[in-house]
Amino acid sequence: MGWARLPAAEPALDAVATGATAAPAATMPAGRAGPATDVVGLGRWRALGFVTPGLVLIGVFLVFPALWTLYIGVTDYRLTGTAARAPQIVGLENYRRALTDPTFYRSMWLTLVFVLGSAVLGQNLLGFFFAYALRPARPAVRRLVEALVLLAWILPSSVVAFLWIAMLDRDGGTVNVLLGQVPGVAWLIEYPMVAIVVFNIWRGTAFSMMLYSAALSGVPPSQLETARLAGASTGQTLRDVILPNIRRYALTNTLLITLWTFNDFTPFLLTAGGPNHRSEVVAAYIYNTAIVGGEMGYSGAISLLVLLVNLLLALVYLRVARVRPA
């Protein structure tokens, strides 16, 4: 399977995972070039014994279902009816259908809008804005604001879905009341995509904010001071001093929030993909096809296509991350 062969991108991912700090070089010899180090004499067998139980559990609950999905994807398996009892192998029929199905392309397009709008632009920029604006603030103040923004990130999805449905309600929702129109706009029905994009920005900004906050604290003060003495404007300082320093963090952040947002199921709790499929991002599309529509075989094929897109995204980012700033 494709995703098991990720090591091709290993050196770059390692660089991303360990970040721009110097620590990894000192504490963890990079395995790709140097000899294996085993300073405490753990030994090969004991080490294998340490790792195997976790691998077995992951095999049963993550890899085995994935392989099963792969198999289901070439059958006409359905939740009910004859095809449920004796599914037939149909070869690549499901893939042919998906690749010619406008609803599949629509859900991919909506996902692209959702990921770009809410994660790559929304969470990224707002998170950076928070981190940048709070930089001069006292640590206690910064911590407080971070905690407030963090609330949205920590709450269970069942709770946030209830909150947003209640606040956006057409008749008694607080948003319409504050806008002074009751009954007002049925936000989730008239603007479903805008609603889930704004919702996801609210939900996820905390992570980007905290990551950028950590990144900005690593920008050398001497460079900032030099820029100030040279009379650089805020824009110039951002472009020439701050951005080059946090570039790697920005890439790591964008990769993580893209993958999370791509597979996020929470928008479904707000709109169920509707009305009329207008907010049916892929996670909702797979759920609606498989669990609601009962077309297991078809949804298995879609799942694999989505997986490939995820993998592609990760590889693109890693390729970009590999290019070190001059």
Binding site: W3, E10, A17, T18, A23, T27, M28, G31, A36, D38, V39, V40, G41, L42, R46, A47, L48, V51, L57, I58, V60, F61, L62, P65, A66, T69, I72, L126, F130, A133, P136, V145, A147, V149, L150, L155, P156, S158, V159, F162, L163, W202, T205, F207, M210, L211, A214, Y249, T252, L259, F262, N263, F265, V282, A283, I286, Y287, I291, G300, V306
Partner: protein, 297 residues
């Protein structure tokens, strides 16, 4: 007579009175800070609305926008926890606690040795294993739903909380291994070498060298795993029924059946959120280092 040398020189960073001087701030910086506060308040409004409404009586909760002056009451909480609604949330809360705490303990027991072995590399090609762990997080979770459902059905584990315990353990394990690895990387190799020079065995090394350095990391990892397990809704909704349903699933049903009684529902939402809020704020400082897989210190 006072000579000029009697007064101590005042540093430039202090006022004449000796108090620290306010750092000069540009007007644009002030506008930014102000804007950050405004957006921050907007962020917290829904949560504030929930907390406020949960403390109102039902008639007061029905007014919009919620009045701050309404007398606070715990009636909503009494209605939620009491048997007033015909159902009680206690079994679902107990289920959530079982699933989250047990799976977190299992994750720690499995991930700490694995991360330890993986970070000292006694075996070549070890990083491949690490990336295998990570790659499993790229699977669209929805796609795994049906196979796991069918699997559970065939082994008779549907509506059984232990199925969720095992599933949450494997769901959190990859991220926990990476997090633990990032925290273990902070143990200086020199310290390990010194311990081995002094003849310390594996147990001794773990106890005296590794544990003190990584304890905060272990705490953060377990809090994050706890949050993820407690909040998980999709699988809990499909894999459990009346017996093993978790608190978020119970809450979803409660919202559907009692949605008109806003005070009661908000009280329920607060009650279900409280454990993860506490865990989240406790882990706040290590959250980013953990979740960015060590990319950020």
């Amino acid at each position: 007579m006072t000579s000029i040398t009697d007064t101590a020189p005042v540093p430039a960073t202090r006022t004449a009175a000796g108090a620290p001087r306010e750092k000069r701030r540009s007007p644009s910086g002030l506008v930014l800070t102000l804007l950050a506060w405004v957006v921050g308040v907007l962020f917290v409004l829904p949560v504030l609305w929930m907390a406020l409404t949960s403390l109102h009586s039902e008639p007061a909760a029905a007014t919009n926008p919620p009045s701050i002056a309404a007398p606070p009451t715990l009636q909503g909480y009494r209605d939620f926890f009491g048997a007033g609604a015909g159902t009680t949330p206690w079994p679902s809360l107990a289920n959530s606690l079982t699933a989250s705490v047990t799976s977190t303990i299992l994750v720690l027991l499995l991930s700490i040795p694995a991360a330890y072995a993986l970070s000292i590399k006694p075996v070549r090609k070890w990083t491949d294993v690490l990336f295998f762990f990570l790659s499993t997080k790229m699977l669209p979770v929805v796609a795994g739903l049906l196979p796991i459902y069918l699997f559970a059905q065939s082994v008779g584990l549907l509506d059984n909380i232990w199925l969720l315990v095992l599933f949450y353990t494997s769901m959190n394990l990859p991220i926990a291994v990476w997090m633990m690895r990032s925290f273990l990387a902070e143990v200086p190799v020199e310290m390990l070498e010194a311990a081995s020079m002094d003849g310390a065995g594996l147990t001794r090394t773990l106890q005296s060298v590794v544990a003190p350095v990584v304890m905060p990391g272990i705490a953060a990892t377990s809090l994050i795993c706890f949050i993820f397990s407690w909040n998980e809704l999709l699988f809990a909704r499909v894999l459990t029924g009346t017996v093993a349903q978790t608190a978020p699933v119970y809450l979803t049903g409660f919202v559907t059946s009692q949605g008109l009684f806003l005070a009661k529902v908000c009280a329920a939402a607060v009650a279900v959120s409280l454990p993860v809020l506490i865990a989240g704020f406790a882990a706040q400082d290590k959250l980013v280092q953990g979740l960015s897989l060590g990319a950020v210190k």
